[in-house]
């Protein structure tokens, strides 16, 4: 894992410290700004908003129709105003969607938080477009040959989030219960939302 991993290399740390002090001196970074800027990711680390959008879409057909057509009003319903670059990709029995950014690491952080390191790593970026089925199998998701895989390469400022299929065993669940079941990986397209332990058929 070390290969693509972060480091506390003293040279890097010294450069960052020097840069920070110069930016403050030049009025480009204010005291307390680092904590303020990163607070939302550190306090709200998971794909909270994404999970809530999906949970509501599973329960409310009209919300879902709106979400996959134009997500902007749906985001406003959850307090994220004026963001018109999110595109929701609906998984179906025939289509599985997968999100990548081959050129850098674009990611829908507005709804999923900051991306995990593997999403930003050369193995994921290089292979997702060339051999998505093999890559997903390696990551634990077998997509049947009969199902189409659509890979979305985030080359512009549009951001993509997958609307996964609702798992069996969740009939009658509330929006909050459903949202708690939804983790990050299915919203990128590298996993399914799991059927709850002990659930019978839907």
């Amino acid at each position: 894992m070390a290969k693509f991993h972060s480091t506390a290399d003293p040279y890097i740390v010294s450069r960052v410290r020097a840069l920070e002090s110069l930016l403050m001196e030049k009025g480009l970074l204010e005291p307390g700004m680092v904590d303020a800027v990163v607070a939302r990711f550190e306090n709200d680390t998971g794909p909270m908003l994404g999970a809530r959008l999906v949970a509501r879409a599973w329960l409310d057909p009209e919300f879902k129709r709106q979400l996959v057509t134009d997500a902007t009003p749906c985001l406003e319903a959850f307090g994220l105003n004026g963001y018109d670059l999110l595109v929701i990709l609906e998984n179906t029995p025939d289509v599985h969607n997968l999100v990548v950014c081959t050129l850098c690491s674009c990611y829908p952080w507005q709804v999923l938080g900051l991306p995990p390191t593997w999403y930003k790593s050369p193995p994921y970026r290089s292979r997702a477009v060339l051999e998505p089925r093999a890559l997903l199998a390696e990551m634990g998701l077998i997509v049947p040959e009969a199902k189409e895989i659509r890979v979305w390469d985030s080359s512009a400022e549009l951001r993509y989030m997958v609307l996964p299929e609702r798992p069996a065993g969740t009939a009658g669940w509330s929006e909050e219960q459903l949202a708690a079941l939804i983790t990050r990986d299915p919203l990128i397209g590298v996993a399914l939302v799991p059927t709850p332990a002990g659930a019978g058929p839907a």
């Binding site: 920070e20 001196e25 009025g27 990163v38 550190e42 995990p116 050369p122 477009v129 985030s154």
Partner: protein
């Protein structure tokens, strides 16, 4: 730029390695770097496209060895130096000063005047009608610019079909080099895996990618 950052379709990087329970940041310096872009960007010292250009311009081995936030650090420094916000040698000088005196007191300065009246967001009014419509067959240009581009190599000279119109947006190939926003229509284009990868492409697989209008030609032209 045909750089090592343009990774779509490469072999040899090994399996995807997942860190369980990964923290949002691994080290304090990563938090600082994350926050350091916002002041310069809000003041119009560099834009997001120039930020990406700076990362792509890293020496290839440095790029591949660097962690994600190391790349951010490099491009922040190189962009600030390009824009003369940092003088040559200023950063190294400060490293020396801080090493000699770790408790060096930094006086918080007043922000500089904004350089550019940067418009918010990426969408811009369209001055020309869109050339393509959903369903149109298109051919991605075979263009190998040494500058910044968002047309990856694996898409070039391939045929696809317009899936959706995305709006008119700032053009990175121009904006990254300080040559203006030059907005263009953007389209989501679908490419079949067999077109991109020939016999090596999977069945029932396709790539969707957002491409600016000048990256595209009608499929008849070649």
């Amino acid at each position: 730029m045909n750089g090592v950052h343009d990774m779509g379709g490469m072999h040899g990087f090994g399996p995807v390695e997942v860190e369980q329970n990964e923290p949002v940041f691994h080290w304090d310096w990563e938090r600082t770097v994350y926050a350091a872009i916002s002041g310069p960007m809000r003041r119009g010292i560099f834009n997001l496209d120039a930020f990406r250009r700076g990362i792509e311009s890293m020496e290839p081995v440095h790029y591949l060895r660097a962690s994600y936030y190391e790349r951010w650090l490099e491009t922040i420094i190189s962009n600030l130096e390009e824009q003369r916000v940092l003088a040559p040698g200023e950063l190294d000088g400060r490293i020396v000063d801080l090493t000699a005196n770790p408790d060096l007191v930094v006086v918080t300065g007043r922000p500089p005047a904004a350089r550019l009246a940067m418009l918010p967001g990426f969408r811009r009014p369209a001055l020309t009608p869109a050339r393509f419509a959903p369903g149109d067959a298109v051919l991605a240009r075979n263009r190998h610019t040494a500058g910044h581009t968002r047309l990856p190599r694996y898409i070039r000279a391939k045929r696809g079909a317009v899936h959706a119109y995305r709006g008119c947006m700032v053009f990175p190939d121009s904006n990254a080099h300080g040559r203006g926003e030059a907005p263009e229509h953007v389209y989501s284009v679908r490419f079949e895996a067999a077109e991109l990868w020939g016999e090596s492409g999977g069945r029932r697989e396709a790539v969707y990618i957002d491409l600016w209008e000048s990256y595209l030609l009608p499929a008849e032209e070649r």
